[in-house]
Symmetry: C2
Subunit: 120 residues, 2 copies
């Protein structure tokens, strides 16, 4: 995260104006974190499965063609970012989407991909 003083176009007035408008580094970091969590194929498969129904770990593993362990690890990540929640029923743990945000994010990204191949 160094800074160069050569070879740059710098309009400090403009730059400082933008810096003030931008969210804090902490907030930007956390926003990036959410996207990072969504930015994995396995976790995206989990999300898209949970989009259809609440599911237990074993079912998710089967649907995503992964192992129980891998899924359990990833569900932990999703849980920490408050993207999924769970409820226990005896020894079975049912997972579901925690938020409407997840659904919207998923749909917009899907649109972005699908439209990207049509034009341009």
């Amino acid at each position: 995260m160094k800074r160069e003083n050569d070879n740059e176009v710098v309009d400090f007035v403009k730059i400082n104006k933008i810096k003030k408008l931008m969210p804090s580094d902490d907030l930007l970091f956390e926003i990036a974190e959410v996207f990072k969590v969504l930015g994995d194929t396995t976790r995206m498969k989990i999300i898209s499965a949970l989009l259809e129904s609440e599911l237990c770990v074993g079912d998710i593993a089967e649907i995503t063609n992964s192992t129980q362990s891998a899924i359990s690890h990833q569900l932990r990540v999703l849980k920490q970012s408050k993207l999924v929640k769970f409820r226990k029923e005896g020894k079975i743990v049912y997972y579901s989407l925690d938020d409407d945000h997840v659904i919207t994010l998923y749909e917009i990204a899907k649109k972005h991909i699908e439209e990207g191949y049509v034009h341009k």
Copy 2:
């Protein structure tokens, strides 16, 4: 990406129904790719700066406290995912957001973070 046949709860009817409803692995992969691109602090800073104004590489480097090289590399990634576009004016290259999708994704993720700290 192996598959376990022990220790799982499997309702094949339910599972197959969900599998059919889910997008193809290819599409899910590409959706995850978009999120992966957004899932980096530096790139998120770039996005949030471009949200305010079109900017040249040097200005972005200054605003994000990074080197020209690092920013140039990251702009390349953002360009490939069609999240930013550019126009040249002499030797200066101006970058801007390519899509409305980016803006919406950014705003929803921001909401998710901000609301996540209020309740629950």
